[in-house]
């Protein structure tokens, strides 16, 4: 991959204008594939959008709509959210919900107020407080209701977020130059002729 000062790179024999790389990366984070649409890389944009959003939506459905939420309180440190947030806009409602939950929770007792009502029917809302390990609470109810689906849904959404990080990089800097599969094998004839050339040079 070669790049010049005009943000134009050459990949697989195709010349690509990355345009404003920072804006493209931001758009790619906000909506998977949007950065590539901005760069007029339509095929890849569609590919990323379909793959990542379908993985995200499938995971969300498998988990009964409760696998994506933000929470960092004792007994419920939802570290998965940091990875799920890789898909950007789709995960942002969780921040609104957690802020609302925080306001409705007593800081001393850690108990959610009885009059608390989450927005949008509980979409991406954290579980009612308190959440304590080894005790029945809303999280354990979600697990009980969905079984393995809750766990799988969590991983699907986490993986979707992680995949979008690769996409953000691609929007910013173009395709990774080293194939994940490792070394590229040279054709045998080329390798043999290269050996012969080397011998001739040495003599």
């Amino acid at each position: 991959m070669a790049a010049d000062s005009n943000n134009t790179i050459l990949v697989d024999g195709e010349r690509i204008d990355l345009r404003n790389r920072t804006l493209a990366a931001f758009l790619a984070w906000l909506v998977p594939g949007a950065g590539h649409f901005y760069q007029r890389r339509y095929t890849k944009a569609s590919l990323f959008m379909v793959c990542i959003l379908s993985t995200w939506i499938l995971g969300f459905a498998l988990g009964g709509g409760h696998v994506v939420y933000a929470s960092w309180v004792s007994g419920d440190k939802r570290w998965h959210y940091f990875l799920q947030a890789g898909v950007g806009g789709a995960a942002l409602p969780a921040l609104i919900q957690v802020n609302r939950m925080k306001k409705a929770t007593d800081p001393v007792s850690g108990q959610t107020a009885k009059q608390y009502e989450p927005l949008w029917g509980g979409f991406m809302a954290p579980p009612l407080r308190p959440v304590r390990e080894n005790q029945a609470d809303e999280v354990s109810a979600w697990y009980a209701r969905r079984g393995a689906g809750y766990e799988m849904g969590t991983w699907y959404t986490v993986i979707a977020g992680l995949l979008n990080i690769l996409v953000i990089y691609d929007a910013y800097g173009g395709p990774l130059s080293v194939p994940i599969s490792g070394r590229r094998k040279e054709p045998k004839e080329d390798a043999d002729s290269a050996d012969e050339d080397a011998k001739e040079e040495s003599t």
Partner: protein
């Protein structure tokens, strides 16, 4: 032999397709090369997981 229902393995299919295509897409620009790379990635991950599966099955049988 499996402690879970084999249908759970179906969870693997959409994931491997999405992962392989995104991996291919972030390494090439040409569609044919993307698909080729995705196929290789999918095959490699499946083989790797298959080997781990066989090792675990053998260990389970031996112990």
């Amino acid at each position: 032999m499996l402690p879970i229902s084999p249908t759970y393995l179906l969870y693997y299919l959409p994931l491997i397709i999405a992962i392989a295509l995104v991996f291919g897409g972030t390494r090439h620009e040409n569609t044919q090369l993307i698909l080729h790379h995705a196929w290789q990635t999918g095959r490699w991950i499946t083989s790797f997981m298959g080997v781990i599966f066989v090792v675990i099955c053998v260990l389970d049988w031996m112990l």
